[in-house]
Amino acid sequence: MKKLLAVLLTLTLISANLVVAFAADTSTVPVNLTVEPQIFSITVPTVLLITQTSTGEVQVADNVVITNNSAGPVKITDISTTGVNGWSTVDYDGLDVKSAKVGIKNVGFLFKIGGTETKTTGADLNNFASSVSITKGQSIPIIYDAKLPAQSTALVNTQVAEVVFTFGWDE
């Protein structure tokens, strides 16, 4: 009888140790994450400048960039082009400035942003159909061109259109 009790006691102790050992193998440690509000920060031009010279040639700035200072990558999800102050955006490819009547307030735009080319295709229309990604800390150039007929009246810093770039997280 004593031998039986000794065996049972031994088995009980062994099984208890096994349970503890098993529990130690499966214990979990939670990983908790706190995410502070992710800062959105981009640097963009507030104006795109165009000069039409006395001989009708168009010159534009060539140092325009968009810089992403945000916590992560962002993307340009849309570009809208709208004529203002009596000006209309027109088909960039279809506008022949050599034969267009003098003084007509039509302007066509071409943008090259991060390998994506966008042109105006009509009044307040363009063919931007994708998105342009800008990685964290990256600056991408905005190369642009404009076409417009010769003007009979000299203008100084007159707004002819507005361009809106819409941004979103690159998810």
Partner: protein, 189 residues
Amino acid sequence: MIQAKQQQPTDKKREKILVIILLVVFVLSALLLSYQLMSLVGAKGTHPEKVHKIGFRADDNSTDGTIKGKSKKEIIAALNKKVAEMYNTITMNPNPIFADGKAKGTLDIINIKNHYPQVYEIYLKDTNQMIYTGGVEVGHKIETSNLLVDLPKGDYTCYLKVYLVDPATGDRIGMSPSTPDFLKVTVLS
């Protein structure tokens, strides 16, 4: 009768003199007319009011050479300089949270890297109603602030307009051509 005969040679002499004078006047008139006609031909294409002027007088301000504007390089350099002054860095929390419609929310607007003060405006995308506007000086921040309207609990998709402001006049001198479409305002209760 004798007197009449004596006067005949004198009259003929006078007639000759008169004819000579008339011939001289005619020749001079013809020369003058020719000169005027030549001037008219030379003035073809000018304004009518200037046609009657005869002769030429150079403008005292005229100089040698032709008129030249800025070179392509000079024009682009001037454009680049202006663009460089007009960059706008927009920095804010794209998901500001408000405990309720009257509480201050976590806007985290920062005006750094800019040459001008900024005005931020937040609009509801559905109704275009402006729900926040606030100015921030260069080097300053707006960590929290209140909405213009007491919005009920919910998540609101918004868009943003950011203006640069001339500190001397208060005039808006440029708007950022950007609208983050992920701007979401959350009101918790």
